[in-house]
Symmetry: C2
Subunit: 219 residues, 2 copies
DNA sequence: AAATAATGTTTTATCGATAAAATACATATT
DNA sequence: AATATGTATTTTATCGATAAAACATTATTT
């Protein structure tokens, strides 16, 4: 009836890893996870296996599971691959996007800018912004007709989120993320492919630079 | 000591699915798989979960696992994405490739052309050619320095193998695959990027066209 | 003291049993 | 006849127990 334990474990683990609650490189002992989520060993192992296929978790034979490491090299690499996939999706989406697509983009942009406008610095705010940011970027590519491209983009996007969180934790007065989103939104609405691609590339690269900066200075 | 049951199950399932021994869309009942591989339910479920992360298997809550379906649309889509990833890898590899890389390419090409030269039509021949074909294409991209790109390429390459097998089962006197490989090899050795990309694209697209043809006429 | 061996402890991987859900089938109801 | 209800069967998902491997610690040998 309700979802399965393995599925719940998958959801919990995925969001805790991506949010950094389970630190990069951390050993994922089954006993600890059992207590943390109150889920048995079998479904936990299934969820971890699944996550290993998506590269958020690493398996080591006979010595268990581990949160995938983070590094500067990985940040640069993943950002390059994210761009390579996402720009291809965007290229197609902005070209094929119809009224339905525009509607989804408008709605997602509205929700994102509302979340960004709130000046409260609550702990939940980062989470909400990230969630709406993800929805906005998903809406932008949603007119791309390739399921494989969209799936891989999503997989990489999820892994990239760990670096976005680092980036967000470093306040930077020289950067106005809302303005970047606004510009991207405008370009999408005008179906200006070249501009949209350019702005998106810069957007991702700025975020990545900040994440790299964070890692570098915290060592 | 030796590898773990879950790992063995993963290897068996992966190659049997890719080789078509477990047919597309087929329901993967745990009891059947237990008898087939003589491996317990727990490690089997872990292996299946892992394969679902790589899109060879589909999970349906409370109704088990299934070999991922094949279709014309999927063939076209996956081939597009394979090209998008593989050409990017090749672009970088042919540019950065040094003597080591050339050595790997020469060796892999040698083994592949030997396998292709054998005129025997044994049942094992297709398997060996596919294995050496995979090695050859892996050698070509091996000078690409992005682990993420290489990983995703490999994932997609594995899923694409099911379509390559269909393609191979359809003899076509108008096509000379060995000659295509020879031309690709030459272009790589000359570090002729444009030519290599063009030939690779055609190579993949020809294979895909044949797979699509096979599916279409067998319905 | 360094290297090796023996020991106990923790953690991982797996099994067999069972609960829970889905499916198939028969029977009843409108 | 079509829908609904109940029952049996199959299949999936999960638990608790245990075997197997890795790890930490102490003892032994050179």
């Amino acid at each position: 009836m309700s979802t399965t334990d393995a599925q719940r474990a998958y959801n919990f683990l995925q969001s805790d890893i991506v949010a950094g609650e389970l630190a990069p490189g951390m050993k994922l002992k089954i006993i600890d996870l059992r207590h943390r989520y109150d889920i048995g060993a079998a479904p936990l192992r299934e969820a971890l296996s699944r996550l290993s296929g998506e590269r958020l978790v690493a398996i080591h034979e006979n010595r268990g599971f581990q949160v995938h490491e983070m590094s500067v090299a990985d940040a640069l690499d993943i950002s390059r691959v994210r761009l390579h996939l996402e720009l291809e999706c965007l290229k197609e989406a902005v070209q094929k996007g119809d009224d339905e697509w525009e509607g989804r983009v408008v709605a997602a942009y509205h929700r994102l800018s509302r979340a960004e406008a709130l000046s409260t610095t609550e702990s939940t705010r980062g989470l909400q912004i990230e969630s709406r940011n993800a929805d906005f970027h998903a809406a932008l590519v949603s007119a791309c007709e390739s399921p494989w491209l969209l799936n891989l983009r999503l997989q990489v996007f999820a892994c990239h989120e760990r670096y976005r969180n680092l980036s967000r934790s470093l306040s930077d007065p020289a950067r106005d993320t809302s303005a970047e989103h606004a510009a991207i939104f405008e370009a999408a609405m005008k179906h200006d492919q070249a501009l949209l691609l350019m702005l998106s590339r810069e957007h991702v690269e700025r975020t990545t630079r900040k994440a790299v900066q964070f890692i570098t200075q915290s060592q």
